[in-house]
Amino acid sequence: MQSLDIQNRSATTTSAPQVRQAESPVAKLIDISKCIGCKACQVACMQWNDLRDDIGTNVGVYDNPMDLTDQSWTVMRFSEISKADGSMEWLIRKDGCMHCEDPGCLKACPAPGAIVKYANGIVDFISENCIGCGYCIAGCPFNIPRISDKDNKAYKCSLCSDRVNVGLVPACVKTCPTGAIQFGAKEDMLFRGAKRVNDLKERGFQNAGVYNPQGVGGTHVMYVLQHADKPELYHNLPTDPKISPWVSLWKGIAKPLLALAAGVAVLGAFFHYITRGPKEVDDAKHGG
């Protein structure tokens, strides 16, 4: 069923099945101005996906766990911001895969079918095809994929592709008590995001905006930011994320160019032999 709805497949040079009408793209909209940092989404993610991270150590901050892992596909990033008037502001960002329209992980992946992008925009790791090379980590502009110590395969948020596929919303969306996480057609989410941005602007957040970075073709996980002019305030959310030029070179133009050049060299040698022939040493002439 889902195999018909794959739009893009890692390390595959021919087109995916195309005959079905494309589904409309989906998106998750995370309204940071509504997040209270309860981490219910983290728990729901663990519960639905059967993940249990190691129990860590409290280092005096609210972040728990301290980073994304193969077992923690989403974590709340707490940023405590001092404002000009001396007051403080919590910016709590739910970190995880952004489901890029142009996914760097998929571009970098060398294993056919280990990373797919569905027609609805979800980027998913098909872990049985993963070889554990970690190229997806190099490809990702958001530093999301993590390789498991258990099986050396890469993991990240699937946007609950298994739930979405049967018409359910992702587990984190289902559980969010403040409605800070919403899910639906990307068009609708952009509309709701724009409305919320208007509300925020009326309430004094002049620079509120929707984070849907165009450098990666837009994302299927978007944020409403109170300070969209300064994404870096939100635990270093990149201002203008793009696939790195090194990755574009490595997994873009270099592939056909170098393969062609090596092929030409082999053919060149062959035709040199055909036109010039071998160097043969005449034993008699040189006196043997």
Partner: protein, 213 residues
């Protein structure tokens, strides 16, 4: 070590040298095959050589380290023979004659010609680049120690260094097996004919046999 010289044969590589060369050569084939598979999907089928994609990912870096170690032995053994001399420059000026097989009156050269010497130094540089960038890319043991931008650069360096090495090796294999007849036995049986040695490496021939004619 006493050199057994059968009539009509000049020793060029002893058994140790031949074994070292072929260990590097066999590992190069396995590494190139698995590396090409990671480079371009058109070569993905080559992962079969090492037992699939995951096995290729696991084995490639270990084989790479072994290849580097054996290559290092070759580098130590041959570097002095590969210092470029004035007569090599003279020989190089006649490159178009070399390519067109008009090589009856080429300047006399030593054990290696300038093409071989340039390949030697190219291999020194690319092997070091491949080792260093390969360690940076090596999962699960080393890659985590490096920042992601460093890993990206290492991937590009690994790819470009391999490409340069591959182009050199294509010329090397063509020359040794197909083009310059009588070369292959130097690395399979250890000897070349007097005629071959005199024709292609006259100064070397003089040096090892004391003869010039």
């Amino acid at each position: 070590m006493a050199v057994v010289m059968k009539s009509g044969e000049v020793p060029r590589y002893n058994a140790n040298e031949r074994v070292t060369h072929w260990v590097v050569a066999i590992l190069f084939i396995l590494l190139a095959a698995s590396g090409l598979a990671f480079f371009h999907p058109a070569f993905w089928f080559l992962t079969g050589l090492l037992g699939g994609g995951t096995w290729s990912r696991i084995l490639h870096p270990f084989l790479g380290v072994v290849m580097f170690a054996f290559f290092f032995l070759m580098a130590v053994r041959y570097w002095q023979d590969n210092i470029i001399q004035p007569h090599d420059r003279e020989w190089q000026k006649r490159l178009s004659d070399v390519i067109n097989n008009r090589d009856d009156d080429l300047p006399a050269i030593d054990k290696y010609n300038i093409g071989q010497k340039q390949l030697f130094w190219t291999m020194i540089v690319t092997m070091i680049l491949l080792l260093v960038s390969g360690i940076i890319l090596w999962r699960p043991y080393f890659a985590d120690m490096f920042a992601i931008p460093v890993i990206r650069i290492a991937a590009v360096v690994h790819m470009l260094a391999f490409f340069v090495l591959l182009m050199g090796i294509i010329v090397h294999i063509y020359s040794a097996i197909f083009w310059v007849r009588g070369s292959m036995r130097a690395m399979t049986r250890g000897t070349v004919s007097h005629a071959w040695a005199k024709h292609h490496h006259a100064l070397w021939y003089k040096r090892v046999t004391g003869q010039s004619k």
